[in-house]
Point group: C2
Chain length 343, copies 2
């Protein structure tokens, strides 16, 4: 329980927050009274609201407007007041329907899940694909595209496929490439991609192999093939936030789109969620990203066995419908976990 926060204050704070979430407009004392059947006069509510402003839970845009919740208020709301709802049948249905893999690209699955999140929540859906690095190696293939050009195809245990084009110094025959792939496949079987990388470096030191032209080349090739790629982030439903009144103004739209364009900052934030299993919530500045001003992020992790694979979530305004969205994110993460489980 928060100091200086009796039952009545909590009720009023809750009322303000919930009304503000639905209307996006400052809430006045009268509105609290009429919309929540409190047997109090607006004057009393005004007194309480003034108090809540003093303690930092409410703020007023200007003297004669109603009050709006501060980040502190949302935090308190989520930690102490919020009754987390459940996911509607129809929404569950939609998420489930979209969570199917057959006939899709692996990336396509993540994109689809991201779309599901955005469509059900009406905010932006976001899915960070598993870091390729922490995945288990499954297979490598080299395909000769041209005289000096090779396509490397990497497949991980979870089924992610990456491909890289590699330019060579000299021509290599297709049969040679096949041999190289065979050699690498047997050597690297069952290692994590991270381990693969260090193994390749170690092998390259090996005197015997150094003088075997084929193997030396194979290692050089594979080294390029495993070069770190930018982790993939699927953000969908950006146009959803266009309809929110707080982003009606062109300047704010700009800044949000700019922010979503450079995904690296977001990735850092999402990565930090990998350590914290379950649902995480970042309200406004809690994310320490200035691109997230006025926005909140709800995340959850999807796993495979004991391994945390990745993070997904919803980005919306700070006044987002937490009681609805939290269970949606939770449910979707569980669905994706189930989906990725190869029995």
């Amino acid at each position: 329980m928060h100091p200086g926060m009796n039952i009545r204050s909590r009720q009023i704070l809750e009322a303000v927050i919930e009304d503000y979430i639905t209307t996006a407009e400052p809430i006045g004392s009268g509105a609290v009274r009429s919309r929540h059947g409190l047997s109090l006069s607006s004057a009393t509510i005004r007194n309480v609201m003034a108090e809540l402003e003093e303690t930092g839970f409410l703020a007023s845009p200007h003297t004669s407007a109603g009050r709006i919740p501060t980040e502190k208020a949302y935090r308190f709301y989520i930690d102490s007041l919020l009754a987390v709802g459940s996911v509607d049948r129809s929404e569950r249905e939609e998420i489930r329907k979209r969570c199917c893999m057959t006939g899709k690209d692996v990336d396509g699955v993540f994109r689809e899940v991201s779309q599901a999140l955005s469509s059900v929540s009406h905010y932006m859906g976001i899915v960070a694909a598993p870091r390729f690095n922490s995945n288990l190696f499954r297979q490598i293939d080299f395909i000769r595209l041209g005289a000096r050009r090779v396509l490397a195809i990497l497949v991980s245990q979870s089924g992610s496929v990456q491909n890289r084009i590699i330019e060579l110094q000299e021509d290599v025959a297709a049969t040679e490439l096949q041999k190289m792939a065979n050699y690498l496949n047997s050597m690297l079987h069952g290692l994590t991609i991270a381990a693969v990388k260090s193994r390749i470096l170690k092998e390259m030191e090996n005197e015997k192999i150094r003088y075997d032209n084929l193997l030396a080349n194979a290692l050089k090739l594979s080294q390029q093939a495993f070069d770190e790629a930018g982790a993939e982030l699927f953000i969908e439903g950006q146009t959803n936030i266009f309809d929110l009144p707080e982003f009606a103004d062109a300047e704010k739209m700009k800044s949000i789109f700019r922010a979503m364009e450079q995904k690296s900052q977001l990735l850092v934030l999402l990565d930090s969620c990998l350590q914290a299993p379950g649902v995480n919530i970042f309200i406004g500045s809690e994310s320490h990203l200035n691109c997230m001003t006025g926005m909140s992020l709800i995340t959850s992790t999807y796993v495979s066995g004991r391994n945390t694979l990745g993070v997904l979530g919803v980005i919306g305004p700070t006044r987002m419908g937490y009681s609805k969205v939290i269970p949606i994110v939770d449910y979707t993460a569980k669905m994706l976990t189930k989906l990725l489980h190869n029995d």
Copy 2:
């Protein structure tokens, strides 16, 4: 030469168009005179401009504003007036620098080219990847992900990689999958993907094969693997158009983003360019897409040998800097052509 269009009218029309391209504001008779050193009075210019309005080349937003060019004017400008410039050294440099394949994903190459287009033109870059269908088959691979889940990896001659997750009725061993892939690879070698599909259907009719469980299953699998995927369209630099004054208003931003989200309409338009080699220009409504109101599209095709592979281009406002952008699109298309050429 256009009827009723003498030298002076052309000069004035050109002046209005070029000024409007740089300022985005209606151009008055005075502005034409002062900014273009014409030895004519503004009154004369006014007369000419009134004439140009009659013939449909200019329009005035209201009585006491200057004139803005119509689509007809842009069309005339491009067909008859425009001195197509060349690409600046520094811009060529940037495009060239970005057009490199090593270490990239195949899709990554197209995305990068799209980014190059947007960054150099300051509008939106757009690249349609080659239609998988018209590509030549190179290789198929099946990887067993789990008891009833198989990952199919398709590689085309050009190096595009597609992967599909396929759910099976029953478990299939990895060695079986290998055999299936071998069978398909030898059968389908050198066909176009379109031919592959019909070949598979035909084979499935074959009585002998019908009763060979392995082969029958292989065909069923491959059929799913070759199921049409949405063609890929890479649109980059959407935030560039935020800075254009004509899209400063929130409503217009919305509509553009909505339009870019559903890429299918654009794909149809781009597909139509596949037939017309070289640079194509669609001014405003010429694209017959209402999502392109007020926007123009400049495209060019990239090829491999005699085959047209795909289309790339730039989307900007109708008042875009054609003399700059046309050579950029042209140059980039040629770079991509060169890039994709496997010697």
